[in-house]
């Protein structure tokens, strides 16, 4: 790891100022960024830790939405969102392992937008709103391909607002070594339709499976997906699974999520 300066501001405003420097980088829980720094895949001159910002932590129910501070750990979401949005809490409870969940944050996961991360599926599958220090971004506009988002340089995710669905579930096949999803599907049923978001599968990162959404909006049952397939053209193929295998798993995971939805 190359060396860097380390600062830990106490407010969002201070963090925004600290990030204005060239080559400054925000640090959430560090569960992805610190391994990345060790591999010298990134070499910021300054890390701005967001974990000391109290206003960016916590889970609250506001009207028909669950609002989660960007600096909230996976463990806290798993514990504190369980009654209001059990599908989201279940997803958070299965990220990585217990020690990773004690450090990793929702804002860090969404800002990184790893194509195999769990949270992007929940955010896109819920039609969440990503709130930053300067604006609000709809999930449909936020995810722009593998490791790419609508965030500008120095922009910080301060909170994420998840509309609460009538039913939801997350079905995941974990890649056993990394515990990232090999393929995972988040399904959420709302009054105006069903959303289906797929992670781990596509070279373009998380995506909505619109054919499945249409079928499930008419009939929210696993067999409504019978015969539906996703093209394997854009699927990830690697030593853990071929593109065709991942394409197949999308259908299997979507059915499991629908069957498990509550």
């Amino acid at each position: 790891m190359y060396n860097f300066d380390f600062v830990k501001p106490a407010t969002v405003d201070e963090a925004v100022k600290a990030l204005a420097d060239d080559e400054a980088q925000a640090l959430g829980g560090g569960q992805t960024l610190i391994p990345t720094l060790k591999q010298r895949l990134a070499s910021p001159s300054k890390l701005v830790s967001l974990t000391g910002i109290a206003e960016m932590k916590g889970v609250s129910k506001q009207g028909d939405a669950v609002v989660i501070g960007g600096g909230t750990t996976h463990r806290t979401v798993a514990e504190e969102a369980a009654s209001a949005y059990p599908g989201l809490a279940d997803l958070a409870s299965r990220i990585g392992d217990p020690a990773v969940r004690n450090r990793g944050t929702i804002g860090g996961s969404l800002a990184n937008n790893d194509p195999s991360a769990c949270y992007p599926a929940a955010a896109l599958g819920s039609g969440a709103t990503i709130v930053t220090n300067s604006r609000e971004i709809a999930a449909d506009d936020y995810f722009q391909g593998m490791f790419t988002t609508a965030l500008e340089e120095g922009e910080i995710i301060t909170e994420v607002r998840f509309p609460i669905p009538q039913k939801s579930a997350y079905a995941k096949i974990a890649q056993p070594a990394s515990r990232f999803p090999l393929v995972a599907v988040f399904v959420a049923q709302y009054g105006d339709g069903v959303r289906v978001a797929v992670t781990g599968a596509s070279n373009n990162g998380v995506f909505r499976w619109s054919e499945a959404e249409a079928a499930l909006s008419g009939n929210f049952a696993a067999d409504a997906l019978d015969g539906l397939t996703v093209a394997s053209d854009d699927m990830i193929g690697d030593l853990h699974g071929t593109a065709a295998y991942r394409s197949h798993l999308v259908g299997v995971m979507a059915k499991r999520a629908v069957a498990a939805a509550s």
């Binding site: 790891m1 190359y2 060396n3 860097f4 300066d5 380390f6 830990k8 560090g30 569960q31 610190i34 391994p35 720094l37 060790k38 890390l47 830790s49 974990t51 463990r75 990585g96 392992d97 217990p98 020690a99 990773v100 004690n102 450090r103 070594a177 990394s178 515990r179």
Partner: protein, 161 residues
């Protein structure tokens, strides 16, 4: 270099560190607490698990400066005040929960974190909780057995497998 201060096993600890100094390096190199092992250095194996403000974390994937002002517990602080093994450590000895011993500090610290939140876990819950702790001797059955025994549950019916 920046000075970092924290409480380690109930005692004040401080030292000068770089931004990039990991908590595991600070504990081992600055404080001489070499019980926190660095196995994979990629946050997968869990040999470096310590508690920061009561929560299990991987000390190889946290900067020392991130722990500034925190209460840190390591394997060196786990024994009873008279130096005897604590309940979890004793159970690992009684049930042969270690072979080469390299993963053991992380296993014991993860077990302590689990039993604090869930004093009577099921076998499945123990195995799930240890997802991020790897034993390359593959001695998992006796580790799980030791943790169940440390929770006060009868493990005589659990086969050695």
């Amino acid at each position: 270099m920046t000075q970092v201060k924290m409480t380690v096993n109930g005692k004040a600890a401080s030292g000068d560190v770089e931004g990039r100094t990991l908590l595991a390096q600070f504990l081992r190199d600055s404080q001489g607490l070499t019980g926190t092992h660095v196995g994979c250095d990629t946050s997968q194996c869990g040999a470096c698990v310590v508690h920061v403000d009561g929560k299990a974390v991987k000390a190889c994937t946290m900067l020392a400066l991130e722990a500034d002002g925190a209460e840190v517990s390591t394997i060196e602080g786990q024994a009873n005040a008279d130096g005897s093994l604590n309940v979890i450590q004793q159970a690992f000895q009684d049930h042969h929960g270690l072979q080469c011993g390299f993963c053991t500090p992380g296993m014991v610290m993860s077990a302590a974190a689990l039993l604090k939140d869930n004093p009577k876990p099921t076998e499945t819950e123990v195995r799930d909780y240890l997802e991020g702790n790897i034993c390359r001797c593959t001695g998992y059955h006796n580790i799980v057995k030791a943790i169940l025994a440390a929770s006060g549950q009868d493990v005589s019916a659990i086969a050695a497998e």
